[in-house]
């Protein structure tokens, strides 16, 4: 039964990967990346049960965290072109912030 679940999630990962390769906009790709991470977490969990070593769950836990960090970093970078504080064109960004807040 775990095999069945593993195969199902594997197929799901292939679907998401197709979207990731072909995604027309950047946001499609980020979304697919995030979904891919979630699927990976589930897959590793299942895999741990499949091989009878459920202590693999540590890795799944790590993925759940790292995936989030990666997504946030990509989005922030795409929006502000910097992973630190300094944006390349300060004025434009500041007006944006005013509008949004």
């Amino acid at each position: 039964m775990f095999e069945l679940a593993a195969i199902a999630i594997f197929i799901a990962m292939v679907f998401v990967l197709i979207r990731l390769y072909s995604g027309p906009t950047l946001y499609d790709r980020v979304l697919a990346l995030n979904a891919f991470g979630t699927h990976t977490v589930l897959f590793i969990g299942i895999l741990g049960f499949l091989t009878g070593r459920p202590d693999f769950l540590d890795i799944a836990l790590l993925y759940a965290l790292i995936n989030f960090v990666g997504t946030i970093a990509i989005l922030k970078f795409f929006r502000y072109r910097a992973i630190g504080d300094i944006s390349s064109n300060g004025t434009e960004d500041e007006t944006e912030i005013e509008v949004e807040s």
Binding site: G37, I44, L65, I72, F78, A82, I83, S87, S88
Partner: protein
Amino acid sequence: MLVTTAITVVRTRSLFAIVMLSGVFSLLSALLLVTLDAVDVAFTEAAVGAGISTVLLLGTLALTSRFERPVRRSPLPPLIVVLVTGAALIYGTMDMPNFGSPEAPAQTHVSPDYIQRSPHEIGVPNIVTGILASYRGYDTLGETAVVFTAGIGVLALIRLLRRRRDGEGNTKEGASLMRHHLILRVVTKLLVGLIMLFALYVQFHGDYSPGGGFQAGVIMAVAFILYGVVFSLDQVQMVLPPWLVHKLVALGVLIYAGTGIYSFFVGFNFLDYSALNPQHPEHGQHYGILLVELGVGITVTGVMVAIYYAFAARPPILSDEEW
């Protein structure tokens, strides 16, 4: 899937998508490593490939340009070179033992010895940790030193110029750019602590489950990087000032080498942890592994955070046509 990812990397020209694809590539390879029983390695690969290297590549892109220009040269000569090399390598595999065969030379020489002896000599359930920190302690000391050196190299390359630019006064941007993302900020505050807790768990539970100093160091650094990404660099640096990071980098190597030198003075060999508790050599091994892993963890955290600071603090040069 790995192959398709790699080929897409060849074909895509937006460097941005490439960064994501490389993240996916390392996730996939980590998955493969799990199926190959290399849990510790998968742990490291996941933390490093998907976390740190994505952030670093993004940092580089922020400082350079986002698109690749098409190459004018013909792709044929490199293709021929690659094909010839590949054919030679495949010819080389003809003599290799079958996949997973227990009679392969790699399985019959050193490692059964390690597997048999480590429960009695070291008494740590995770064989990988035992070998890493004790049997091959010299190697690991060397690797730590390499990480240390690479960190210093990065700092030497891109830290210096920043001070010069500070005089121009254009690096001060005020508060965080993401101050309006309320949800993100709240969630990050929640998560940073949990990630650190998890890092400590990985660090000190590494004897019993997958994990250890390298992984814990990377995870700890990811916590700081997340804080820096969502809040601002200034705020992280209030928590963990750069001078402290630089001290930490050195401190880790010192702890590691110091353990070795201590065993020197007590009259044992360099990095022989039995020196830490001569009555119970096994306990000595436990202490030694803990100490050494702690040193590795501190160094790795320090180096990763220092590299992140160096990349993030650097003002990009204005060139909008490349965006």
